[in-house]
């Protein structure tokens, strides 16, 4: 409760500061006041555009993210298991992870055109490599004694992989998934701002429309929504998992 109160006070103070600076500059076209942003968000929520855009963006994000994990996790395991894959796929993943995934946008457009597939491709490229690398690192860091202990208890091959190595690597894998999420989110926003996809307007596109119409309250409003979604994802999905890991492993 105390933590909530201090957070609430902080947010209110930030809004007040924002209001004060906006008043000082006195150029609402360039620096909207908090209530203008609020008005925009309210009207956008009422006519459904905000909800629609959020849904479109979240669908792209979640589908691409899940796809990235479903492909990346097994690839990471395979990479950790076979030296050949480590020297090939592992190096490729390492290299591509350093590539900001916005760089995929032009290529995605040429390959897939202005379609959902292009969006998905960019999100997957954002997620995949960090998941592969985190899984591989996690597996390599599993103390060999766990495997030996499991062997003496009669655990073999697949059982060892699923019941020993995978859970032992979980802290690494979760942090890789978190990083993948952040990368996916960034790359999707960049892609949506760059490209209009006629099958659905996401938050990034709404933001870009705001700029085109010089409606800064819309730009800032969408930015607020993006921040809130990021916070919620962290608090609802990642925080509980991380808390569990800290409790079990005793790290914090």
């Amino acid at each position: 409760m105390r933590r909530f109160v201090s957070a609430a006070i902080f947010v209110i103070a930030m809004i007040c500061l924002w209001h004060w600076i906006a008043r000082l500059t006195n150029k609402p076209m360039l620096f909207p006041l908090p209530w203008q942003v609020w008005e925009y968000l309210k009207s956008a929520a009422e006519d459904g555009t905000l909800c629609q855009a959020t849904l479109v963006t979240m669908r792209r994000l979640v589908v691409g993210y899940i796809f990235g994990i479903v492909v990346g996790l097994p690839l990471g395991l395979l990479t950790a298991r076979w030296r050949v894959l480590q020297d090939t796929l592992g190096v490729l993943a390492l290299g591509l992870q350093t590539l900001p995934s916005v760089c995929w946008v032009p290529l995605a457009l040429v390959w897939f055109g202005q379609t959902e597939a292009a969006m998905l491709f960019v999100v997957v490229m954002g997620t995949l490599w960090s998941v592969i690398i985190a899984t591989e690192t996690g597996v390599r860091n599993v103390p060999p004694i766990y495997r030996r202990a499991a062997l003496t208890m009669g655990s073999r091959r697949l059982h060892i992989w699923f019941k020993v190595i995978l859970p032992a690597a979980l802290p690494f894998i979760v942090s890789g998934m978190k990083q993948g999420w952040a990368f996916a989110w960034r790359s999707l926003m960049a892609a949506e701002i760059f490209v209009s996809i006629l099958t659905g307007f996401g938050l990034g596109q709404l933001l870009q429309f705001g700029r085109d119409q010089s409606a800064m309250e819309q730009v800032v409003g969408i930015m607020v929504v993006i921040v809130v979604i990021g916070l919620l994802a962290d608090k609802i999905f990642f925080s509980p998992v991380e808390r569990f890991l800290h409790r079990r492993w005793g790290t914090s």
């Binding site: 004694i145 766990y146 030996r148 202990a149 499991a150 062997l151 003496t152 208890m153 009669g154 655990s155 059982h159 019941k163 020993v164 859970p167 032992a168 979980l170 409790r247 079990r248 492993w249 005793g250």
Partner: protein
Amino acid sequence: MFGPKTSSASEELQVIAPSKLSIENVSKRFRTGTGDVLALDHINLQVGEGAFVCLVGPSGCGKTTLLNIIAGLEKPDSGRVLADGKRVTGPGRDRLVMFQESALFPWLDVFGNVLFPLKLKPQLTNKDRRDVARYYLELVGLTRFERANIHELSGGMKQRVALARALAPNPRVLLMDEPFAALDALTREQLYGDLQRIWKERKKTIVFVTHNVREAACLGDRVLLFSPNPGRIQDEFEIDLARPRDINSVDLASYSSRIMRSLKGFNAEPAEVPL
């Protein structure tokens, strides 16, 4: 695996006749940066049913290597190990190992760790598994800590859980690799008592590796002294003392000083032979 589930918890807890280990001409060589080390040089050893055998020696004398070979975690260069007359080709549930670090799984709680080997026994029902796990947690005195996380336990408690986990699948041979080396003296003393009680109650064959001569004299029926480089059995002692033995007793001290003298005979300087 698909047969009728005839086994029950009570059957699972039954005492099985302990097995006999036979180590025949086992040799093992390691290549290191500075050259070859003959960790084990034609070791021959018979371990009787229900015996408690301690392997003592300075570090690098190959005693842990021998334990790993018996466990099936390492392969000998030559020679063979028989467990119950059957050649050891790999790790098996009939020969469980307790390591120096507890090797407990941090992603499972105490109960989950003891349950782990039981889940690998398809003939048991889930209820059997829980009953067996509870039985062994009680045996090591940790019933209250069933739901504790591993990192919350003290070193001694961790080794108790490791012991319960090793005992749970009812192995006939228990291989212990300096399991108490990292514990404080008081905790160790308690565990000596517990281990002797459990060994007697559950009738296991135990091979126990240690560099602590007194510990070996306290626990073993037989104490085998290893010499390093090449790793050989240098000497053997029968410890003919009543149980449960107290590590501080005078009789035990005379045994351990005899072993110590023999140890110093070939090991004038405290050897830290690199392996």
